[in-house]
C-alpha cells in the first residue's frame, strides 16, 4: 500500500470513528432509526384490513316493481363490491345519506324497463357517489360495471330460459315427425297417393312450425364451430327444399335424405335442451393464476417498498445532517485548514454512516420477516446486495445534498424532497408504467427506485441472486456518481483540494 493510500485510509478511519462515536453517544437516535420505521410498518400491518372494500349501497327505484326482489336475489352475486343497505323510492333522502357518509353509493334504477326494451332502447342505471379518492373512484366505476353486467346476465338467463322452453316445444313438434314419416312411408308403400300427399303437407307444416324457434335456439347456443351451425340450418333447408320440389308428386320424395336430416335435427335439439340457461348467460369463470408461488398480502406488498423508502430517507438524512452539522460546528473548516482531504472526509463519513444505515436496514428487514411474517422468498445474498447498495447510495446522496445545500434546513428539506421523489417515482405508490417519459426518469435520481423493484422481486417473487445484480449495479453507479458530485461540489465551493 502506498503512503498516500495508507494516509488517506488512516484519515478516513479517524473520521469514521468520530462519526461512530457521535452516533454511539446518542442512543436515542439509534433507537429511533432502528425501531421507528419498524413500529410504523408494524402498525400498518396490524391495522390494515386485508379485505375487499364493499360499498354500502342504497337502491332507488319505483315502488311495486320486481327490483327489490331481484336485488335480494342477486345480492350474493355482487356482494364482493356492493352491500345493499336499503331499497327506497326517495332519491333526496338517499342523497342526504350519501352526503352524511352513511352510505357509499346510490344506485338509481330506471322505471319501465320493458317499454324501453320494446322500443329498442337501453335503460340506464345511474350510480351516484361522493368520493374524491381517485383510486376509490376507479373501484366504484368497476363495481358499477360489474353490477350492470350481472344484471344484464340475469336478464339474458331469463330470456334463455324462455327460449329453452320453446325449444322444448320444438322438440315435441319434431317428435311428431316420426309418425308423420311413418304415415308417409306407409302411404307410398300402399300406393295411396292422396294419403302420401297429406303426409307430406303435414310434415311441411310441422317443419314450418318449428323453424323460428329452432333457429333462435341454434343462435343462442354457442356452436362448437361455424360449420356446425351451417350444417344444422342447411339440413333443415334441405328438408324443406326436397318436400317443396316434390310439389305434390310424392314419388319424387326421397325418404332417406329426409330421415338423415330429421335425425340431425333431433340430435341438435337434444343438445340444446341439455344446456343450462345460467351457464349460457355466464359461460366463463375467471381463474387468475400468478407465477408468484404464494399469495401476497397488502402488507407483504408494501413492506419491501417501505423498507427501501425508509432506509433511503434515514441514510440521506443521517449523512446530510452529519455533514451540515460539522460545517456549522466549524469542524469542516478545521479539516480544510489542516491536511485532511475532502475525499478522506467524505469516505470516512460514507463508511461510518453506511455501517449504521446497514445495521438499521438489516434489523428492519429482519424484524419484518421474523415478526411481521413478511416473506423473503429469494436469496438472502440478493437481498443483502440490494440493501448494501441502497444504503451506500443513499448516504452518498445525503453527502451530495449537504455539499450543495449547506444549511440544516436545506439538508433536511432536500432529504424530504428525495423521499417524495421516491414516493411518487419509484413505483412504490403508483405503477411506473402510468408515468410518461421523460418524467418517469426523474425516479432514477434516487436510490429507492431500483431498490423498490429489486426488493419486491427478491422478497415476494423469490428472484435469485443473479436477477438482482442489475439493481445492485445501478445502485452502486448512483452511489459513485453522488459521491463524485459531493467531492466536486465541495472542491468547487471551497476552491481547495
Amino acid at each position: 500500500m502506498s503512503s498516500t493510500v495508507r494516509r488517506a485510509f488512516n484519515e478516513s478511519s479517524v473520521i469514521a470513528r468520530k462519526e461512530l462515536t457521535e452516533l454511539r453517544r446518542q442512543p436515542g437516535v439509534l433507537l429511533l432509526v432502528v425501531l421507528g420505521p419498524f413500529v410504523v410498518l408494524a402498525m400498518f400491518g396490524i391495522g390494515y384490513r386485508n379485505e375487499e372494500l364493499a360499498l354500502k349501497t342504497v337502491f332507488v327505484g319505483p315502488s311495486s316493481t320486481p327490483y327489490e326482489a331481484a336485488i335480494d336475489r342477486y345480492a350474493a352475486a355482487i356482494d364482493q363490491y356492493v352491500v345493499p343497505v336499503a331499497y327506497t323510492t326517495d332519491l333526496a333522502a338517499a342523497g342526504e345519506d350519501l352526503s352524511a357518509g352513511r352510505v357509499d353509493l346510490i344506485v338509481v334504477l330506471p322505471p319501465r324497463v320493458e317499454q324501453a326494451v320494446l322500443a329498442g332502447e337501453r335503460s340506464e342505471i345511474a350510480f351516484i357517489h361522493n368520493s374524491i379518492d381517485p383510486i376509490e373512484r376507479i373501484g366504484i366505476d368497476f363495481a358499477a360495471e360489474v353490477a350492470v353486467r350481472e344484471l344484464n346476465a340475469s336478464v339474458v338467463t331469463a330470456t334463455l330460459d324462455s327460449l329453452l322452453n320453446e325449444a322444448s316445444d320444438v322438440s315435441q313438434v319434431s317428435g311428431q315427425l316420426t309418425p308423420q314419416f311413418a304415415s308417409f312411408e306407409q302411404a307410398i308403400a300402399e300406393g295411396d297417393e292422396r294419403a302420401a300427399t297429406l303426409a307430406v303437407l303435414e310434415i311441411q307444416q310441422t317443419l314450418d312450425d318449428m323453424r323460428p324457434a329452432f333457429e333462435l335456439s341454434i343462435a343462442s347456443v354457442p356452436a362448437q364451430s361455424e360449420s356446425e351451425d351451417a350444417t344444422t340450418i342447411s339440413a333443415l333447408d334441405e328438408l324443406s327444399r326436397r318436400l317443396n320440389e316434390a310439389d305434390g308428386d310424392t314419388s319424387q320424395v326421397e325418404l332417406e335424405p329426409i330421415r338423415t336430416a330429421v335425425a340431425e335435427l333431433d340430435r341438435q335439439l337434444a343438445q340444446v335442451l341439455s344446456l343450462d340457461a345460467e351457464l349460457l348467460a355466464r359461460p366463463f369463470v375467471g381463474d387468475a393464476e400468478s407465477l408468484v408461488r404464494s399469495p401476497v398480502s397488502a402488507e407483504d406488498h408494501v413492506a419491501p417498498g417501505a423498507t427501501a423508502l425508509l432506509v433511503q430517507h434515514l441514510s440521506v438524512s443521517l449523512a446530510a445532517l452529519s455533514l451540515v452539522r460539522d460545517e456549522r460546528r466549524g469542524i469542516m473548516a478545521g479539516y480544510r485548514v489542516g491536511p485532511t482531504s475532502v475525499s478522506s472526509v467524505l469516505a470516512g463519513k460514507l463508511a461510518a454512516l453506511s455501517a449504521v444505515g446497514l445495521v438499521a436496514a438489516l434489523l428492519l428487514v429482519g424484524l419484518q420477516v421474523l415478526v411481521l411474517d413478511v416473506p423473503l422468498r429469494g436469496s438472502l445474498a440478493a437481498a443483502m446486495g440490494i440493501i448494501i447498495g441502497l444504503v451506500v447510495a443513499s448516504v452518498a446522496l445525503g453527502l451530495l445534498l449537504a455539499s450543495v445545500f449547506r444549511t440544516e434546513l436545506f439538508a433536511s428539506q432536500s432529504a424530504m424532497i428525495a423521499l417524495l421523489v421516491a414516493l411518487f417515482f419509484s413505483g412504490f405508490l403508483l405503477d411506473l408504467d402510468r408515468i410518461i417519459e421523460p418524467i418517469r426518469s426523474f425516479g432514477a435520481l434516487v436510490p429507492a427506485t431500483p431498490a423498490v423493484t429489486g426488493l419486491r422481486n427478491v422478497q415476494l417473487r423469490g428472484s435469485a441472486a443473479g436477477t438482482s445484480t442489475a439493481v445492485t449495479l445501478t445502485l452502486q453507479t448512483l452511489g459513485a456518481l453522488a459521491i463524485a458530485g459531493a467531492v466536486l461540489a465541495r472542491r468547487w465551493r471551497s476552491g481547495l483540494r
Binding site: 462515536t21 457521535e22 453517544r25 460546528r329 473548516a333 485548514v337 489542516g338 491536511p339 485532511t340
Partner: protein
C-alpha cells in the same frame, strides 16, 4: 522567508465591505495581533489568510505557495483555533485532542502534556457537551497546538478566560514563538496587544494602524501624563490652581491629580512650582505613559 504574505485583500459580503486593502506579512518566530472592535474585519482576515474563504481581490501565499494550492505537507504545518472552537460534542476532552492529533497523522502520546498546559488534565474524561465555555476554549487550543504547527491562526483564543489562564496561554504562545512558530492572533483585549511583536488595528475592514506596540502610543499622538499626589484636604485647592495653570488639562483621579502634557518633564516641574507657591506640599510626582486602551481609543477616534 515569510510564512504568510497577504497582499491587498478585499472581501465584500453583499454591499458590506468586510475587508479592504488588507496586507500582512508574517515572519517565523513572531506573533502578530489583529485588534479591533467587533465587526472590524479580524475574523474575515483570518479566514482569508488560512484559505477558508476566497478574497474578491488580492493574494495570499503561505510558505511561498498560493493558499489554494497548498500541498498536504504544507497544510500539516498550519493550525486554526476558530473563534468558536470546532469540537465534537459527543467526545470527551481527551478524545477530541486525540482526534486532532490523529487527523494530522501524529501519535497521541503528547496528549497528557497538552492537556496539562491548558489546565485540563483533571477533566480529560469530561464530555465536551458538559464542558464550560472556558474548558471548550482550552480544549480547542490544546487540539490546535498539539500538532506542533509552524503557523497558527488563533481567533480570539483568550476570550472568556480568567486572567491567570490568559497569562498561561500567552506564556505558551511565547514558548512556541521561541521554537520558531509564527502566530496570527485576534483579540479584543487591548492589553494583550502589548504581548505581540506587531499589532494591526482594524476598524470597519480597514487597517488604521500597523506598528510595534511601543510605536502605537507615538503614532496615536497621545501625551504622557503627570500624576501628582497631594494631601486629601488640599485636593480641591490644588486642582483649582493647576486647572488655571494648565488650561483645563488637569483632573482628579482618586486623591491624585492628573495632568495631560506633551512634555511631561517640564509639566511636572511647572506643577511643582505652582503648588509650592500656594503652600501645598507634594507627596509624590510621576510621569506615566498612556495605556493601550487610551492609545486604541485615540487612534480609533482620530479616524472617525
Amino acid at each position: 522567508m515569510s510564512v504568510l504574505r497577504a497582499e491587498n485583500l478585499r472581501r465584500v459580503f453583499g454591499e458590506h465591505v468586510a475587508l479592504e486593502d488588507f496586507s500582512l506579512e508574517v515572519e517565523p518566530s513572531s506573533i502578530v495581533g489583529l485588534i479591533g472592535p467587533s465587526g472590524g474585519g479580524k475574523t474575515t482576515a483570518i479566514r482569508l489568510c488560512c484559505g477558508l474563504d476566497r478574497p474578491d481581490r488580492g493574494t495570499v501565499r503561505l510558505f511561498d505557495r498560493p493558499v489554494s494550492k497548498l500541498r498536504r505537507q504544507d497544510r500539516q504545518r498550519i493550525s486554526l483555533l476558530a473563534q468558536t472552537p470546532a469540537l465534537v460534542e459527543e467526545m470527551t476532552i481527551e478524545q477530541q485532542v486525540s482526534f486532532s492529533a490523529r487527523l494530522y497523522g501524529l501519535r497521541t502520546d503528547g496528549i497528557t502534556s497538552a492537556l496539562d498546559r491548558v489546565g485540563l488534565s483533571e477533566s480529560a474524561n469530561t464530555r465536551i457537551s458538559a464542558a464550560s465555555g472556558g474548558m471548550r476554549r482550552r480544549t480547542g487550543l490544546a487540539a490546535a497546538l498539539i500538532t506542533d504547527p509552524e503557523l497558527v491562526f488563533c481567533d480570539e483564543p483568550t476570550a472568556g478566560l480568567d486572567p491567570i489562564l490568559r497569562e498561561r496561554i500567552w506564556r505558551w504562545f511565547r514558548t512556541r514563538r521561541s521554537h520558531g512558530s509564527a502566530m496570527v492572533v485576534t483579540t479584543q483585549h487591548i492589553e494583550e496587544a502589548a504581548r505581540c511583536d506587531r499589532v494591526i488595528i482594524l476598524r470597519e475592514g480597514i487597517v488604521i494602524a500597523d506598528a510595534k506596540p511601543a510605536q502605537l502610543a507615538v503614532s496615536s499622538g497621545l501625551a504622557e501624563q503627570v500624576v501628582i499626589g497631594v494631601p486629601y484636604f488640599e485636593l480641591d485647592r490644588s486642582l483649582a490652581a493647576l486647572a488655571v495653570r494648565f488650561e483645563g488639562e488637569a483632573w482628579a483621579s482618586g486623591c491624585d491629580i492628573v495632568l495631560g502634557a506633551a512634555d511631561a518633564a517640564s509639566a511636572a516641574a511647572d506643577a511643582s512650582r505652582t503648588l509650592r507657591n500656594i503652600g501645598v506640599s507634594i507627596s509624590s510626582i510621576d510621569t506615566v505613559a498612556p495605556g493601550l486602551d487610551d492609545v486604541f481609543r485615540a487612534i480609533v477616534e482620530a479616524r472617525e
